[in-house]
Symmetry: C2
Subunit: 231 residues, 2 copies
């Protein structure tokens, strides 16, 4: 009797709860329904489980968020390095940005949370390695890493916040509305804004990202040149 397959009165006929399955469900939930949807009850329901069952595998909502962050960090692709430091740093920056923008809701959710888990350590090591090979000293490498990280994080966060309205059409409409609002301002109050005019929303966000990245790397190159000249 105990082996009777009909004995499914328990909801036990399901893949069993694990940390990984919980994290996966949480990510899917946020992807579909936005950051506010990440509640313990919703995650549990998605797994066909009761809310309190999650606490057998996760110490609480906070830890779940940390695990989600770690899972995202682990997903950052590791483009093979070429040996050209500039190309390598560009690749790293683009990969990280792409990973963050793939899940804008989570990006917004997670930027207000430090790296409590060490999930970003491989990325950090990669970046520092490239900087070292490029000729940076220890101090310079640390500072350059921070500069690059700050820029990429800031850009991705800004874009992710703007992507909160999910659909592409809605995003375009919002951009246009913002531009119209700016255009409607008194030109004498904001002369520079009036000067740029519609160009304020011209160009893709990709282009903007690349511009800033190029400027930053130009700065790195200049620093390296000065450093080399001193030696």
């Amino acid at each position: 009797m105990s082996m009777d397959p009909k004995d499914t009165n328990r909801a036990a006929m399901r893949p069993a709860l694990t940390r990984d399955r919980i994290v996966e469900a949480a990510i899917a939930l946020v992807d579909e329904s936005g950051p506010d949807a990440l509640t313990m009850r919703a995650v549990a329901q998605r797994l066909g489980a009761g809310a309190m069952s999650l606490y057998r595998h996760v110490s609480g909502r906070d830890e779940l968020l940390d695990l989600v962050l770690a899972a995202m960090a682990a997903e950052v692709v590791a483009t093979p390095l070429t040996g050209d430091w500039r190309a390598d740093l560009e690749a790293i920056a683009r990969d990280v940005r792409a990973s963050l923008l793939k899940r804008p809701h989570l990006t917004v959710l997670l930027t207000s949370r430090s790296g409590r888990g060490g999930a970003e350590l491989p990325l950090l090591d990669r970046t520092l390695g490239v900087l070292r090979a490029a000729g940076f000293g220890r101090r310079g490498a640390v500072m350059a890493n921070h500069a690059l990280g700050n820029y990429v994080a800031g850009a991705a966060l800004w874009e992710a916040v703007g992507l909160a309205g999910t659909t592409g059409a809605e995003r375009a409409a919002r951009r246009q509305a913002a531009a119209d609002a700016v255009m409607a301002l008194a030109p004498d109050q904001f002369p520079a804004l009036a000067w740029v005019g519609p160009k304020l929303i011209a160009g893709s966000t990709d282009d903007r990202f690349e511009f800033g990245l190029a400027c930053l790397l130009d700065g790195f190159a200049a620093y390296l040149a000065r450093r080399l000249a001193r030696a």
Copy 2:
């Protein structure tokens, strides 16, 4: 009887509720007790009022957050411009960073929220004006503005998250703990990390900010030089 000063059975003997007073109380609350303390009930209590009274002046928590954001943006000091574009951009970047770091809790709270109010327009106009005078074209000015904004926002956010543990002593301890954790890693797993070693936390955050800022502005200068050469 109605004019009897003893008629204070109502709690009406208080400065009266206004949007401004509510926003002010909210900011003070977050400053003192962290982002989680910003609840409608807590704000009301700080004003000696009932929770629902706030809703006469503010449509809800969301609008209150927007108002707080606007108040912070309005607080950014406007250092007089010198005419030297590089010095002016540096001053703007430092002012914004300083304003954000003055209230790290609020910075964390607000970065996940786009500028729904137009409070940052004066700043935007200022920056674009400097870029225009520096010789940027419309498109270039917009991109440079974004690059600078992304960097400053990213740096300030990152620092603000780290500053969540309020006291200076606690911050230092946390930094040291993080460094120790990194040092304890297997050097063969993270060779570049082992290479930088204790330098990972050397230097002030101010220095790091200045380094990235200088690199970015070097990149701007290079762009301007190329642009001038083409013309």
